[in-house]
Amino acid sequence: MKTSQTEKLGKTTFGGALNAGLRAALANHPKVLLMGEDIGKLGGVFRITDGLQAEFGEQRVLDSPLAESGIIGTAVGLAYRGYRSVPEIQFDGFVYPAFDQIVSQVAKIHYRTSGAVTMPITIRIPFGGGIGSPEHHSESPEAYFVHTPGLRVVSPSSPAEAYWMIQDAIACDDPVIFFEPKRHYHEKQDLTGIEEGKDRLPLGAARIVRPGEHVTIVSYGALVKTSLSAATAAEDDGISVEVIDLRSLSPIDFGTIEASVRKTGRLVIAHEAALTGGLGAEIAASVTERCFHYLEHAPVRVTGWDLPYPPSKLEKHHLPDMDRILDGVDRVLDRPNSYSRFEGK
């Protein structure tokens, strides 16, 4: 049986890194089990669990009936028995039938039982858009979960992060909502030597992925890469941008963000999810409370519009791209930008 100890990862895709992380978790702990629709023979619609049922058997990698509430509710009962379930929700938009079990049960049982029962459940959800899919296949529902006390919410942005974060999430005794930026599934990174764990951060920590002096961009998931492109483009204009990958959406590592904002004085938050009530609102408010006197400009949010996710031919107008993030950078720097035009009209 292959385990993380023996498996050598070279150039690996995001999906492959998740697969390797899941394999390591299954190998290292007999009570880890995977469940979900089509995750067995098919290996999941994105093939993230490819080969795992063949390797670990149908008792450890379960194809479940087509019932999201059932998948999560069953994981709750399994947790009472000491199992660490890793349910897969096939797509972001299909998590809602399970919403009641997640927010009313998974999130609250540790509290309800005064800590006697733990819920080490890792709910994997491919999320976000940009892949040309039909309705319900491109949503960013993270704010619902971040708003629910009792849950941890994380999102890796690279294969290396995916490899360790999935293992850390499974090892965590709290329930973790694990958002996978699906448009990165096929992106590759050289993971040689990753098993040694250098550069590995704890589950709740944010990471500075690019240091800079003038502006801080906070992002997560698929928009980390877009933010990095924006930072590179801004450099041409002599603007030095620091990019922070949040990694943990709940709790948020405000220490890292604050230190950065104290240095730059300017904050842009970028996410795909709708603006109103989104994570950007939480970050902007908290940073304003904590670092008001360091800020040179109000924090600015660059997000998806307040719309149901549009048909795929229009998603390019909905998803923040590099140019829209740069426009946000211009705003916090008081350079000419869309808002100044808009307000001046």
Binding site: D38, P97, E135, W305, D306, P311, D323, D327
Partner: protein, 382 residues
């Protein structure tokens, strides 16, 4: 994992796979009125529907559609059900009922625009009494029951029909819908196409009994019918609808059929499905069966075949021409219809986006410059 075999032949049948007509005392009277021309047109409908599927699959391969959920093999279920309906009956479909929808008058091109990614809205549901196709598995069964309750309260002699797959019967929603339908004696017909697979999962993973048996547990009369037998499906659905329309309450139909293609054009059935199974079902092809029956009953099969192909060719040509002329939506459409009344937040975001686009010499009504990360730095445009 032990899975029950749900594929045996305990079902209502009127045509054997060899085309032989078998008497069925319960159902015969429901199709006694069919003329030779009616029988030929049922066959023609199936040929046209099959072509719709072939054409859409080809258009997907050519990049005209982003995705397509094939219905190959399910023609008899869809044609039988659609032809049993009256215009006043309302349909709540899933994503796989393209055949039913087109027979109701929804234009194939309109339908395909959803799969192209050009629109979520196509037809007005009240134009054809057909709701927008539902992707969330099973959700539409509730809607059908609610609509049916409304029909009952209004004293209308009509029914609401929901279409869904075998996998859907695992969802809480479908089970809850049956509770409501039974409790309120709603004129709701549940039409389950048991095509044996929910993506990679065999029906035995969803149900240890025949799916029709479940409905009975909710107090809903149910029939298991050969879903590849267009006459039997038509008869049973007519029976169910008549009963529902005249105060008989809900009815559940399990049409036992088979999805001969992949789940969608993005799926690879060779990873989970045995080729032998497919071959077995090819031997029960719904079109062959009807063709054999027609031939055996002395119909001019050559002419019927010719007419059917001509109708299919025409539909295909129209779809091909129209889909290439699709007018794609503009950024302004993005902000339209989120609410039915003016909404300041949406208006503000729309106007802001207009200001943003103007920096690039673009506008909400254009479809040019701005693409996802396509351009250089915004600075260049200022």
């Amino acid at each position: 994992m032990e899975l029950s075999a749900a594929g045996d032949d305990h079902f209502e049948q009127m045509l054997k796979p060899c085309g032989e007509r078998v008497p069925n005392p319960l159902n015969d009277r429901w199709i006694n009125d069919l003329t030779d021309a009616d029988l030929a047109s049922l066959y023609q409908d199936m040929v046209v529907i099959r072509r719709l599927d072939t054409e859409a699959t080809a258009l997907q391969r050519q990049g005209e559609l982003a995705l397509w959920p094939p219905l190959l093999g399910q023609e008899a279920s869809q044609v039988g059900a659609a032809r049993a309906l009256q215009n006043k009956d309302f349909i709540f479909p899933s994503y796989r009922e393209s055949g039913v929808l087109v027979l109701r008058g929804v234009s194939p091109t309109e339908l395909m625009r959803v799969w192209r990614g050009s629109s979520t809205t196509t037809w007005n549901p009240y134009d054809h009494n057909v709701a927008s196709p539902q992707i969330i598995i099973g959700a539409q069964t509730h809607h059908a029951v609610g609509y049916a309750m409304g029909l009952g309260m209004d004293g209308e002699e009509a029914a609401a029909v929901s279409f869904f797959g075998d996998g859907a019967t695992s969802q809480g929603d479908v089970n809850e819908a049956m509770v409501f339908a039974a409790t309120y004696h709603a004129p709701a017909v549940f039409f389950c196409q048991n095509n044996h697979w929910a993506i990679s999962e065999p029906v035995g993973l969803q149900s240890q009994t025949h799916i029709a048996d479940r409905a009975r547990g909710f107090g809903i009369p149910a029939v298991r019918v050969d879903g590849n037998d267009v006459l039997a499906v038509l008869a049973v659905t007519r029976r169910a609808l008549e009963q529902a329309r005249h105060g008989g309450g809900p009815f559940f139909i399990e049409a036992v059929t088979y999805r001969m293609g992949p789940h969608t054009t993005a799926d690879d059935p060779t990873r989970y499905r045995d080729q032998g199974e497919l071959e077995h079902w090819k031997g029960r092809d719904p079109l062959d069966r009807m063709a054999k029956y027609l031939a055996q009953s002395g119909a001019d099969m050559e002419q019927i075949e010719k007419d059917a192909q001509a109708a299919a060719d025409e539909m295909a040509a129209v779809v091909r021409a129209e889909i290439k002329q699709t007018v794609e939506p503009t950024a302004r459409d993005l902000f339209t219809h989120v609410y039915s009344e003016e909404h300041p937040r949406i208006n503000e975001q729309r106007d802001h986006y207009e200001a943003y686009l103007q920096q690039f010499g673009d506008s909400l009504d254009g479809n040019g410059a701005n693409g996802n990360g396509a351009g250089g730095s915004a600075g260049a445009a200022r």
